[in-house]
Symmetry: C2
Subunit: 224 residues, 2 copies
């Protein structure tokens, strides 16, 4: 385990509905770090602004900015930020080299087959006007997700955590979208091993719901 490092003031550019932001917000919270959220009005187009593109040309949340004597240190991509925070805090990185390789394996799978698809599906089903929701796309993504839920559920059948013997950033990455209340075709009752794993993560000291950790949620836009 590396020496724990000190941090300069941390600002997380994020919004409540962003499951990718929640991965980082939850990590910051579970590590007991001081940080401030800065709301990005993603649905209002703020991530396409020149100011935001200067911060992250990929146009995505989260962005973590650490103020240091040498200037701002800017990190983007939730996976990059999670690995960086894990390395510097010595937390949630896996208890040995084999676990670390598993962490990376599942985080890549999460970015490819899991959170990426859930984020798309949830957006299309909840944050587009009803008349603009593309039914064929939603059906296609839900079918792919069903296979992904099965893969994760099977993996968790005989183990408590995704990689190694304790919670890691792979768990924090994979779980994020599954705590949101909006429908996207996931029902805990269908996936009992995932359901119990979500309860285990929610029991970690400091755990909080995404809408309690980050500003912005659907009720803010009700009637807009």
């Amino acid at each position: 385990m590396p020496d724990t490092q000190t941090f300069g003031p941390l600002t997380l550019h994020c919004f409540g509905e962003s499951g990718h932001s929640y991965k980082v917000a939850l990590m910051l919270r579970l590590c007991g770090l001081d940080w401030q959220p800065r709301f990005v009005d993603f649905f209002g187009g703020a991530a396409r602004s020149p100011e935001f593109r200067a911060l992250n040309p990929m146009g995505e949340c989260p962005v973590l900015v650490e103020a240091t004597p040498e200037g701002d240190r800017v990190l983007t991509q939730s996976g990059v930020i999670l690995f960086d925070l894990s390395r510097r805090t010595g937390r949630f990185g896996g208890d040995n080299t084999a676990a670390e390789a598993e962490v990376l394996r599942w985080m890549l799978w999460d970015n490819h087959k899991f959170s990426a698809q859930i984020g798309t599906c949830r957006f299309l089903m909840n944050f587009l006007p009803p008349e603009k929701r593309p039914g064929e796309v939603i059906g296609f993504v839900q079918a792919r997700l069903k296979a992904a839920y099965a893969t994760l559920n099977d993996h968790l059948a005989a183990r408590d955590w995704v990689a190694g013997d304790g919670p890691t950033i792979a768990d924090l990455s994979l779980c994020s979208y599954l705590y949101y209340p909006e429908p996207f075709g996931f029902d805990r009752a269908d996936w009992p091993h995932i359901a119990r794993w979500l309860d285990r993560i929610a029991a970690l000291p400091g755990w909080a719901h995404p809408y309690d950790l980050m500003p912005g949620n659907p009720s803010d836009r009700a009637g807009v």
Copy 2:
């Protein structure tokens, strides 16, 4: 640069149409390693077989198996394999710590927004029977990909390689699907910085086309 390690016999479970497999096949080739491809009849359902699932429960190619005196060492997820090969060969990992973080950032983006979407789009447009191709899904994915091509093209406007001053595994990961001949809505003429970067990669000593590196290509199945 770490000491270069020796390798036991390497077998890559792959198929020619798999851009994710090609990332690894190209890395093995550019590093001058000895390896053998083993054809996975993915379109025939082989990745869903119990034997393959025992090798990779995620049901995906590539899988790299190294025979060692202690038994087979099995790696899955192209990103995990690329990082492992880079670390052990001392090649394509980036020339400093900053480049290494950039490598991970772009590989995560590749898995989330780029190769993942291209692979889906190319499959739907080419490897499904014409009457089963879902037009709305193809249009949706192509629109998302247009934004991703723009992000990569802009990134390459003022630089030769994705991360750092030389080619890295981020380049090998991102480029893979773009060498395939089947249509998926990508035209080099629209993205000149990507086009020149593809030429630079193809000029690396040892470079070979996916269908020349791995068994299986659409002409094998012509008339099936």
